[in-house]
Amino acid sequence: MAPHEIRRPFKRRPISDQQKRRELSLLRQSQHRSDAQQRARNLASSVISLQSSSPDVDPEILFEAVPELDEGTESESSSFDVRQASRLRGPEARKWFARQLMLPEWMIDVPDNLSRDWYVLARPAGKRCFVVSSDGTTVSRVRNGSILHHFPSALPGGARKKGASGPANSYSILDCIFHESDQTYYVIDMVCWRGYSLYECTAEFRFFWLQSKLAETGACDPPSFYHKFRFSAVPFFNCDQSGLHSAYTGSLPYVKDGLLFYNKHAHYHTGNTPLVLIWKDESCSQYVIDTDNNGEVPDQQHIVLELQEEGKLVTSDDPPVPFSCLNADFVKQSGLLSGSLIRFAIGDGGLNCVDGRFEKADLQYIGVSNRARAFADSYSKIMFQYMARHSPLKVEDLASTISHENQQDKTPEVEMSD
């Protein structure tokens, strides 16, 4: 029977410094291990895969600006590092960035499985822009690629600040809407985070990542010296009855401009995509029906189309939807060039659809479009605007589709596009 040890530590600290050194070493090692594994998880995807499948991308500009890029690339997608892109200047930069946003189609019919496969969120009113933080600075660019702000931010690599988080080469890209009245960038999507590309991730993942990562940088804090604008993640909901209701009627710190619908499984796809949809009505947006340059709603619906070879007029879709044809003589007389964006009004003849598909339009020529514009209108936008003027898709229609889905979970919707 061992003697019962009752001696206790007396006037001594319970932990020896050597033990402390061991523990600190273990801690350091396990942190480095976890960093190394984390890096391994992210590295392979840190180069953005850029899908330049749309035929009207100007390849010259892209390739000239990126000398490292293999000239023999013949595949449709080319790898492009955003840090190189951020070195682009002037028009090249604008052109490049203009193509980087994922653009929603307008909702002209209600997609299948809305409640199961989609998120809904209230779009803040303001300028859609692309925010890139890298090399100690943050730049926001609006849809046509021109710079909105150039500022320090708490985003990774977003400010020249000692002890800032993350390695020096880390950069991030956010898809935002700048909301003027409270000078806040509302983040609707996350494209890259700390050099980790999210292009290939599902919306479900990107949204979760966005919600958890953004706040931890301090980007959601009020503005300060190293953080000029506040960022805020837009709340999103499963698109069931209650989610739709929350997004549509819920009170939010920003002015709403319609609802955005994201398919949960969709990757970040640059350019137009049917997997993100925008829908508006009078009660959730001030701008349901397009206004003219004076801010007034014109009597007739105006649309902008792109002129192609042989007088073909097409939408900005990929592939483009042909809308009409201009008389070759007229093109010659008016000196219009291929590629021009031309504004038309829709006449009394309206748009004729057969089986939900556009067939012909009564177009009245107005003139060459405003130079600020980068793109023609998309097919869905033209159709949505047309419907808004004649037989709008109402919020009740969305709600009833959802409740219909719930009742017959597995019956496919009747009104699909095909």
């Binding site: 009752i6 206790r8 007396f10 006037k11 600290r13 594994q37 993942f205 499984h265």
Partner: protein, 873 residues
């Protein structure tokens, strides 16, 4: 039949070395040739009262050594040997052992009791000696059993209880054992020797008595007997009874309420008037109650709901009397208690208990102690001044800052002055009290400190003056500086209020470390440890040049240790100890200066010289690898990065030695960690060394002789290596994963009731997942297909872990990450697997709802990876 071996046993103890060696040889030969006969002969020797006592003594020792060893591998071997012996022969041996319990020679009885317990520890769990308990009890109950047989039987029962687990006996046996033991304590029936043996046996049997303590009648009876025994007239028996009470305090805290009044009176009388050995146990009783209540308070977080164990507030209820009792012990100091580490007396025990009481009840203790402090602190009698100071220092942990701040604020200047007291004890306790003040009431980061820019110069001045005091006082002053520096650890990025004093503090600490009069105390160690903390907590931007100057000074000191005259092993040990301290300082400096891009070059410039020193330190100690040097090398590898490769040719053999050092398993463990550091520093440049490293690591995992705590780091290290050498890990993947699968299997079979074992299981699982992650990510894009055959097993393992409610968060995180890695890396193939493993979704959901941000993020990433896999076509 047993052989006559008396002459060999006697000769083996001869003063004549030649005779001794020869006899030892003969015994060894006998043992090797016929172990069963050898053991039988030993047992007869031990049992024979007509044999000389020396030969019986050696026979007992040899028997014990044939049944038990400290080293677990040897122990396993001995157990196997014993099982291999024929049953009939073992019965004879056991019979002789039991017979010896009745011997007239005390020593033989005592030895036999120990040997019986060793046999019991092997056989009882296997149900191979069912009659043992019965025959022991028979010794107790048989009419006319002599007292000396009862005494050794009780002793045997105690040892047996100590060796086996209470699961090995049925409740009836437990009841009988307990009855016999408690009856043995009966004063009217038994001799003092029997009662002492019975009381000591009870101490070991208490762990067996769960069921009996649940029954109020039985419990009360046992308590009554213990309390009566605590009043025996023999001090040794009283002490043993109080030891039982100490054990009961922690084992049966829940049921003590009804006895508390009695226990208080009993312990209180003992503390006041009994002999010190008894009084110390009586104080320990209250310290144990404090431990229990503190545990319960810490456990009792609001989250844990109703599952927290009951808290009876014994300390709070007894508080005024208890504090009074403890304060009275404080003035019973021993003259030289501060110089001798082995001293443990009543004032030390009382003060320590007072500290625990303060931690248990908090603010309530303060008004009860302060009048004592005020009354005595200025007394002309040193015992009173020391007691007052010690009481004050003891209650600084526990009460709120609000309660303590005014008193400490008012008393600080007094204490600073008291560092000049004429009495060594008073100065020692004063310095200790200052260090406690800085530990608990100096936390600028959280908004409160007794130190202000106004009094800091005075405080630093006093400390640097007192560090020149006698060694025991200087050591406490080091503690005070340690806590002073620690308070400023996170005090803002721009500036530290301590920076202007750094040079002076460092100079004084180095001087204290150099002192020769402190040889016997721990002053030098304390000075270097404090130096480490001062460096760690300094503001790097303000201190960088000071630390940069410290670096060559420490390097020079380390170089000087190589030239110390080494004559004895004692010299060698002292050299190693000094080198340990200096390597520790270097490690801290390396880590500190690596913390910023501006100062890292200082380490880079000196890396060659530093490394050369570490290699020389290794060279000084041929038999083992120096642990602190190894730790520091890990830090250096991290700092230098890929350049570290140039040190590998020379360093490598020490790494190999470290990995093979099973005896000092800490060294082995640290070496494994350093290999991880080196992998991260070198990446694929580690490749030429990997065959040997992996060989050793696998060997280590397979060995039973290596302390188990080293095994989880080895699995993690697999991951580090794989991540460093990517596709080249191919050649190790089969053996590595085979062992990982084996270990995963072992985890699943561990006893879930054993907390310590569960802790280990968690470490093991986490490290296996880390290994999978490293291997998977290393193979990404190149050899991913190699992991296809293991995907199923990995997911099964995750599934098992996901269903285990005892896993801790870090295991969950590693499991989820490994699952994501599988989806990320292996691509198409596991798609169907993920579909089949339906637990994934549920597990991910659980993780996504966790409070732990890190876990949520990892789970989301994994969710993304799996989702990507699922929707890809």
């Amino acid at each position: 039949m047993a052989m006559e071996i008396t002459q060999f046993l006697s000769a083996a103890q001869s003063a004549d070395a030649r005779i001794r060696t020869e006899a030892e040889g003969s015994l060894r030969q006998f043992q090797e040739q016929n172990l069963p006969q050898f053991l039988l002969s030993l047992s007869f020797e031990l049992a024979s009262d007509d044999k000389p006592s020396e030969s019986r003594r050696l026979a007992g020792i040899l028997l014990k050594n044939s049944l038990d060893a400290k080293d677990s591998a040897t122990k396993d071997h001995l157990v196997k040997q014993w099982f291999a012996i024929e049953v009939a022969l073992k019965s004879q041996i056991k019979e002789q052992l039991l017979r010896t319990l009745g011997s007239s020679t005390l020593e033989a009885r005592h030895t036999s009791a120990q040997v019986i317990a060793k046999v019991a520890s092997i056989e009882i769990p296997q149900k191979q000696w069912p009659e043992l308990v019965g025959s022991l009890l028979n010794n107790m109950t048989q009419q006319g059993s002599p007292a000396h047989l009862k005494q050794s039987t009780l002793e045997t029962l105690g040892y047996v209880c100590e060796e086996i687990s209470h699961h090995d006996l049925v409740q009836d046996e437990v009841n009988s054992v307990l009855t016999a033991v408690v009856q043995g304590m009966n004063q009217s029936e038994n001799t003092a020797e029997v009662r002492l043996a019975a009381t000591k046996a009870l101490l070991n049997a208490l762990d067996f008595s769960q069921t009996n303590f649940e029954n109020e009648m039985e419990r009360t009876y046992i308590m009554k007997m213990v309390c009566e025994t605590a009043c025996s007239k023999e001090a040794e028996i009283r002490q043993a009874a109080f030891e039982c009470l100490v054990s009961i305090a922690s084992t049966y805290y829940e049921v003590l309420e009804q006895y508390m009044q009695t226990l208080f009176e009993l312990t209180s009388n003992a503390v006041k008037g009994d002999e010190e050995s008894v009084a110390l146990q009586a104080i320990e009783f209250w310290s144990s109650i404090c431990d229990e209540e503190i545990d319960r308070q810490e456990y009792d977080s609001p989250d844990s709901g109703d599952s927290s164990p009951p808290h009876s507030c014994f300390i709070e209820k007894a508080l005024p009397h208890l504090v009074q009792m403890l304060l009275e012990t404080l003035q019973k100091q021993q003259e030289d208690q501060d110089h001798d580490d082995d001293v443990w007396n009543i004032s030390m025990a009382g003060g320590t208990c007072l500290g625990l009481v303060a931690r248990t009840v908090g603010d309530g203790v303060v008004p009860l102690v302060m009048p004592f402090v005020e009354r005595n602190i200025s007394s002309p009698e040193w015992r009173s001044r020391e007691a007052a100071t010690y009481a004050f220092g003891s209650i600084l942990e526990g009460p709120t800052i609000d309660k303590l701040a005014p008193m400490v604020g008012a008393g600080l200047e007094f204490l600073l002055t008291a560092t000049k007291d004429g009495n060594n004890h008073v100065r020692d306790t004063t310095a200790w009290t200052l260090s406690r003040i800085f530990e608990f009431l100096h936390s600028p980061e959280s908004g409160f400190s007794v130190i202000s820019p106004e009094n800091l110069p005075r405080i630093v001045g006093v400390l640097l003056e007192s560090i020149k005091d006698v060694p025991n006082v200087a050591e406490k002053v080091c503690g005070a500086i340690y806590n002073l520096a620690q308070g400023y650890e996170d005090s803002g990025a721009s500036s530290s209020i301590l920076s202007p004093y750094l040079t002076e503090i460092i100079t004084h600490l180095l001087a204290a470390a150099e002192r020769t009069d402190g040889a016997e105390s721990k002053l030098r160690g304390a000075a270097y440890e404090t130096l480490n903390e001062v460096v760690r907590c300094s503001n790097l931007s303000e201190a960088s040049s000071i630390i940069a100057h410290l670096l060559p000074a420490i390097m020079k000191k380390l170089a000087e240790t190589m030239d110390l005259p080494i004559i004895s092993t004692d010299d060698r040990e002292k050299q190693a100890e000094l080198q340990a301290s200096l390597c520790g300082v270097l490690q801290v400096i390396i880590q500190k200066l690596s913390g910023s891009d501006d100062t890292r070059p200082i380490i880079m410039q000196n890396a060659d010289d530093i490394m050369r020193l570490f290699l020389r330190v290794f060279g000084c100690h041929s038999s083992s690898v120096h642990e602190e040097a190894m730790l520091a090398i890990g830090a250096l590898a991290y700092t230098t990065g890929a350049e570290f490769v140039k040190y590998m040719p020379e360093l490598f053999r020490y790494l190999q030695m470290g990995l093979q050092n099973f005896e000092e398993y800490q060294v082995c463990s640290i070496t494994v960690g350093v290999i991880g550091d080196i992998c991260r520093a070198l990446d694929e440049q580690i490749l030429p060394f990997c065959d040997q490293i992996m060989g050793l690591l696998i060997q280590n995992l397979q060995s039973d002789a290596l302390h188990r705590s080293v095994k989880p780091p080895i699995f993690s290290c697999f991951g580090d290596i794989a991540l460093a050498i990517d596709a080249h890990f191919e050649r190790y993947v089969a053996p590595a994963i085979q062992i990982m699968q084996g270990a995963a299997q072992v985890c699943a079979q561990m006893d879930t009731l054993d907390e310590e074992l569960m802790d280990y299981a968690n470490q093991l699982r986490r490290s296996i997942f880390e290994a999978y992650s490293g291997i998977l990510q290393g193979f990404k894009d190149t050899k991913a297909e190699l992991m296809v055959p293991y995907a199923q097993h990995l997911l099964q393992f995750v599934e098992v872990v996901s269903k285990d409610s005892l896993r801790d968060e870090s295991v969950t995180k590693a499991a989820v990450a490994a699952m994501g890695d599988l989806a990320d890396v292996v691509g198409e193939n596991p798609k169907q697997l993920f579909r089949n493993f339906t637990f994934c979704g549920e597990f991910l959901n659980e993780c996504l709802q966790s409070e732990d941000e890190d876990l949520k993020v990892t789970a989301r990433w994994t969710q993304g990876m799996i989702a990507r896999l699922m929707i890809s076509s």
